[in-house]
């Protein structure tokens, strides 16, 4: 036996390139649409061109007789399939029955009314055009404030007021705070509809094997296990007879944190025709039929003392739910309420949410899911308050932050902020940009008639969703480590990464703990037949919860490795480090590989120990984690055209310990790009008839690489006490910090003209009008 000790370099904390990248950038990854099966059929879905209409009749004759068509199904056929589920539960929530195909009425453009199944994708699409639907067009409403105004057409006739729910939350004594206030500022702030735009649209392939009574459902999802539980239920199929596989998933941003009608529909079709059937969402369908994000109208009021101390916050939040509730829709604005105090100490808050039905695509979780809206609101309000009090925006923030000695800090909305040093990133950011110098430069620029703005956003975000009681479906995660007899390591995780890079970061964690080469580790996810169970990847939770579950599985495994090592070495006095079980007394070691082989060969088992080296851990977090940070945006405005140039963008994020700084940079860059998209360009716009007029990329302005400024990403590190890795989460931080810092910056550039607020997106025309008119 070898006695050399290999000093393995620690990988956690290193900028390691993503191991998933080669297949992604060479186009060899396997997405749903890449999967081919013998006998596979193709589905095309007939959808409503109207936002509200009664179906007088559907004539499928011509379609059914078209070449290659094997079946056409309408709502009458699928009526008994369970409704598309809403997992959110709020008191008094009105949940419309969401059939997978419309029965006699449609509620939004894109509403599915029939499915055409053919031997070929093109023939299916051709035949879909032959389905004749006779419509009785009804008046529609597309704006949430118009929808709750008297006389608006009802989206669902059974609820003529269009109110989906009203939700109140209150903490402290708000009335007292406002009574004692020396100053109150108010503002209407909108957070427009956004279209998530994952690079891969959705896609489903269902394969029913009737003889085995088993179904395999390939779907582009962030939550394969929840899809299995819910879709099997919709189809009346036993859960254990359905296997859900999320192959390569080309982005989700929350839009695939859902259960969609097409997932059940393909299962239904496959069971009917006894053949595999595939549906791939077109980009046009993606615009109309995959959830949208945001859709807020917020009425904020902040009470404060003259010295800038915030006394209380009131919020009336109007949430555009769209025509239906998808999986989490109604819960999303409640997250905005939870985070409405931001990083500030105030204990007096009152919020009322009015969820409103409109004849539009349902809104649900989109990168940040409620927290960008909350942060945008409070960070705009703090700037407005600073402007009112002629205070510096940095100073007013520093004055109101939760103090370091107050952690864990119970908030007015019932959360407990785990740890933090909220002044640190702001001060670091101000140092990096030389804030005082910038202010002097701005003063000089104004003298010359130039428009330059400095915008600060400090944010807190709920990461690591979450303790189970705070979530609709369990908030834990599952991690399995399976050491193969050859000593290779397979990690199975319930996290279902879809671009985040856990194949790399989780391998880093496992490599460090086991002292093995990272190339010996394979991270698998996204298959309900191989991963015991999982909640999925969303809400900045994968590393904090999935990573921790893996960490604990590794700890259990290490105990077992030592036991087998002890047997092999013939001494109970052993340690395990750097891939070696060592008995110091004897000066002998056995390698991890030898231990793995012995554990399966099982010639001699340690007492009370099973053969093999497999460990599974379900980890339930005791709390959320709370990332935080400060972003600063410096902008310049062309007064003649209203065009905004982002001169500098700095993000200082505190996401706790960092597993891989390269991937954290990537998350921040992507997040900032999405937040910048909302601030400057993107908007899901409906006309009064419920037609989505930004329904293709000719009108929906996705941020592109050439539109991006240089983004500087820096950090402070405050480890989370919630998990042993000390990690918090960073997937959504960039998005949360970007829109308020940019809007604050542009408002700052125009503040001397009397501008106090600008709604997003800040289009050049809007800015030009403000410069010309000089008011908000």
């Amino acid at each position: 036996m070898a006695t050399t000790i290999i000093q393995t370099e620690k990988l956690v904390g290193k900028r390691i390139r993503r191991r998933e990248d080669p297949r992604l950038i060479t186009g060899t990854a396997t997405y749903v649409d890449d999967i081919q099966m013998p006998g596979m059929h193709h589905a095309a879905i007939v959808r409503s061109p109207h936002a509200a209409a009664k179906i007088r009749s559907i004539n499928i004759k011509a379609a059914a007789e078209a070449p290659g068509v094997v079946a056409v199904f309408t709502g009458k056929d699928t009526e008994k399939v369970g409704p598309v589920p809403c997992g959110a539960s709020l008191p008094g929530l009105r949940v419309p029955h969401h059939y997978i195909l419309a029965i006699d009425r449609v509620y939004l453009v894109g509403h599915p009314v029939a499915v055409v199944v053919a031997t070929d994708r093109y023939l299916a699409r051709d035949a879909a055009d032959l389905v004749e639907v006779e419509w009785e067009v009804l008046p529609a409403v597309a704006d949430p404030e118009k929808a709750i105004a008297p006389g608006a057409p009802p989206v669902h006739p059974q609820w003529p007021d269009n109110v989906a729910f009203v939700y109140h939350q209150e903490g402290g004594d708000v009335d007292k705070a406002f009574a004692e206030a020396e100053v109150v500022v108010k503002q209407r702030i909108t957070s427009q509809r956004l279209i998530p735009s994952a690079m891969e649209t959705r896609g489903v392939l269902a394969e029913w094997r009737g003889a085995d009574r088993q179904m395999t459902l390939y779907t582009s999802t962030q939550i394969p296990h929840l899809v299995r539980t819910l879709v099997s239920g919709m189809l009346g199929l036993e859960e254990n007879r359905m296997r859900v596989i999320a192959p390569e998933v080309g982005g989700g941003f929350g839009s695939k944190l859902n259960v969609y009608s097409e997932e059940a529909l393909m299962g239904f079709v496959s069971m009917k025709i006894g053949k595999p059937v595939k549906w791939i969402e077109s980009r046009r369908e993606n615009f109309l039929c995959t959830i949208h994000g945001r859709g807020h109208v917020d009425y904020f009021e902040v009470a404060a003392k003259k010295d800038g101390t915030i006394l209380g916050i009131k919020l009336k939040l109007i949430q555009d739910q769209g025509a239906y509730h998808q999986l989490l829709g109604p819960a999303i604005p409640t997250l905005s309420v939870l985070m409405m105090p931001g990083l500030y100490r105030t204990k007096n808050v009152r919020a009322e949410i009015v969820g409103v039905f409109t004849n539009c695509t349902p809104t649900d979780a989109y990168r940040g899911a409620g927290r960008p809206e909350a942060t945008h609101g409070i960070e705009r309000m703090v700037d407005i308050l600073a402007d009112e009090l002629k205070m510096d925006p940095a100073e007013i923030r520093l004055k109101n932050f939760v103090h370091n000695e107050e952690f864990p800090f119970p908030t007015a909305t019932g959360l407990t902020y785990d740890s933090g040093d909220y002044a640190a990133p702001l001060q670091k950011a101000m140092g990096i940009v030389d804030y005082k110098k910038l202010l002097a430069e701005q003063a000089e620029a104004r003298k010359q008639g130039k428009l330059m703005g400095i915008g600060i956003c400090t944010y807190g975000e709920i990461c690591g969703f979450g303790p189970s009681p705070a979530t609709p479906a369990g908030g834990w995660e599952c991690g399995t480590v399976r050491v193969e007899p050859s000593g290779k390591v397979t990690v199975l995780t319930g996290s279902c990464h879809h671009g985040q890079g856990e194949e790399t970061t989780f391998a880093q964690i496992a490599a460090d703990e086991l002292g093995v080469d990272i190339d010996d580790i394979l991270v698998l996810r996204g298959d309900t037949a191989i991963v015991p169970y999982g909640i999925g990847t969303f809400g900045s939770r994968a590393t904090a919860i999935g990573g921790t579950a893996l960490y604990f599985a590794l700890q259990d495994l290490k105990v077992k490795i030592k036991k087998f090592g002890a047997v092999l070495l013939g001494s109970p006095d052993v340690s395990f480090a750097n891939g070696q079980v060592t008995c110091n007394k004897m000066g002998k070691s056995v390698s991890f590989k030898e231990v793995a082989a012995a554990s399966y060969r099982a010639m001699k088992l340690p007492p009370n120990t099973e053969p093999g080296l497999v460990s599974t851990h379900f980890w339930e977090p005791p709390n959320f984690t709370f990332g935080f940070g400060a972003h600063i945006a410096v902008t310049e405005i062309d007064p003649e055209t209203g065009q905004i140039t982002v001169r500098r963008y700095l993000a200082v994020d505190d996401c706790g310990n960092i597993i891989n700084p390269l991937l954290v940079d990537g998350q921040v860059h992507g997040g900032v790009a999405q937040g910048m998209g909302q601030a400057l360009w993107e908007q899901g716009v409906y006309d009064d008839n419920g037609q989505l007029i930004t329904g293709e990329y000719t009108d929906y302005a996705m941020p592109r690489a050439h539109m991006m400024p240089w983004i500087q990403s820096e950090h402070t590190i405050t480890p989370s006490p919630v998990n042993p890795l000390g990690v918090k989460g960073v997937g959504e931080a960039g998005t949360i910090g970007a829109s308020p810092s940019l809007v604050n910056s542009v408002v700052d550039a125009l503040s001397h003209l009397g501008v106090r607020h600008i709604d997003m997106p800040m289009t050049p025309e809007k800015i030009w009008k403000l410069v010309a008119g000089g008011k908000n």
Binding site: E640, Q643, I693, T694, E696, Y697, T698, A701
Partner: protein, 283 residues
Amino acid sequence: MIPQTFEYTAPKTLDEAMVLLEGGGKPLAGGMSLIPMMKLRLATPEHLIDLGRIKDLDYIREAAGELHIGATATHSSVENSALVKAKCPLLAAAAGAIGDPQIRNVGTMGGSVAHADPAADYPAALQALEAKIVIRGAKGERTVSAADFFVDAFTTTLDAGEVVREVVVPVEQAGTGTSYMKMPQPASGFAIVGVAVRVRRGGGKITLARIGVTGLSNIGYRASAAEKALEGSAGTADDIMKAAALVTQGVDANSDLHASAEYRKHLASVYAARAITAAASKA
């Protein structure tokens, strides 16, 4: 991409193409506008005649004081052509302002011109350059000026069965300054407003001014009133401002989600002033 069934033919010569087009085929050049429409089934041509394999349509050459750009020369080849950059920099600038690199690598001069998108970049430059469009039809060739070629939104003088064979622009004389400036629509990259300017000086005066405007209305046009105001002037900042204010004269500006008519008109004057200033500084 699931279009309706169509036939596809890729002729090797223009003569072959003419026969096919006479039979009612739809010409396909770069496809940057046609293909997205087919994808949505908004366009459902029954027979596509791909002009992309016709070798003698893809050229950029100089002859007799003019540059000849073949119909299938891509935007990026126009943008990056040493000949175009040296002899007709305005055209290179307009080509470089189109869409994004992927579009410029595939989209073609002939396709763009024949499509006559009211927000395309080329029409502004071609108007300012007083370009000629050589049209090939079954009966032979005819040449029309850019001014006559563009009729309305997506409407040209091209008859059924005719295609653009080449675009002819003058070699820029010494002493001429040019500039193309645009505000792109953030989603599509098309011009909300684009202004192409040529300015020549002589004897302390502006002797020639050509201003082409795109994006503002249904058609790329020459801003004649502004040109007249500039010609003969000393080209001072004040002269430029006055001329720029005239570029929208008599124009029925379009309005959409991205820019109101009022804003478009304002932008046209701003971009005209900037483009004239830039061109004049090079003249």
